[in-house]
């Protein structure tokens, strides 16, 4: 005998649809926020890289001064 399909009655179907629409809207908002955060993070990474370069430059100059003061005959 062929199996008969069984169905489940869904009450308040429109409410469920409304909730799902609301969730989708919130998901879109979350996606936009995440994009903004990603942009900020990229900017932060860029600034950190610049900071690192400046720090390396600073270190080089301090080394030069240090050597100049400690071993002046070499310069």
């Amino acid at each position: 005998m062929e199996r008969m399909p069984v169905f489940v009655k869904i009450d308040e179907y429109n409410d469920v649809l409304a909730v799902v629409r609301g969730i989708r809207k919130k998901l879109d908002e979350a996606k936009e926020t995440l994009l903004k955060v990603t942009d900020l993070k990229n900017e932060e990474d860029h600034q950190l890289e610049m900071w690192q370069n400046s720090l390396a430059e600073l270190e080089k100059k301090v080394d030069f001064i240090d050597h100049s003061l400690n071993e002046p005959e070499q310069f």
Partner: protein, 174 residues
């Protein structure tokens, strides 16, 4: 006598033409209302996907004439702000499954079970995301702390360089 391999001539008889009479049974011209949502169309039914244009659409929606308004969600049902729910109500997503209030809607058991499974998986994903948020907050706090330390170190370096500069120029001046 008729030769056995010769084609016999069959007299052409016209097909009978039907006469439409009142009270006679007819095949329906419209497709029956689709109440059973197949697994492939659940997403479309709940508004996650718009029906594709290429898909063979019915010439007329069974509920075109009467477009029921979506009732506002009952208190305690939805944890959403009033403004968001209001804007949500204003947006109308075309759905072929907008059933009138009076007609019940049924979903196949396997579809229903799949939906339940998806909801469980969603809950799990949400918990994972909460955990990730917590970790991010901790990481952000640590990052802030390290930035403050780095700032202090740079300030100290700056002060000492100024001190060295002053000392050297003082010595040169003397």
């Amino acid at each position: 006598m008729v030769w056995p391999f010769t084609k016999q001539k069959v007299p052409k008889v016209p097909f009978p033409e039907g006469h439409s009479m009142e009270g006679t049974l007819r095949f329906p011209t419209m497709r029956p209302e689709e109440r059973v949502i197949e697994p492939s169309r659940v997403k479309e039914a709940v508004g996650l996907e718009m029906p594709s244009i290429t898909e063979e659409a019915p010439s007329r929606s069974p509920f075109e004439e009467s477009t029921p308004e979506i009732p506002p969600p009952r208190r305690g049902h939805l944890a959403m702000s009033a403004t968001s729910s209001r804007t949500m109500m204003e947006t109308t997503v075309p759905s072929a499954y907008n059933q009138p209030e009076s007609e019940p809607l049924f979903v196949k058991v396997d579809v229903y079970q799949r939906i339940l499974g998806e909801i469980d998986s969603l809950k799990k994903d949400m918990n994972d995301m909460f955990e990730t948020t917590k970790k991010l907050e901790t990481s952000e706090y640590n990052e802030e702390e390290n930035y403050a330390k780095m700032k202090r170190a740079i300030r100290i370096v700056h002060d000492r360089l100024l001190q060295v500069d002053k000392t050297l120029f003082k010595a040169q001046g003397d």
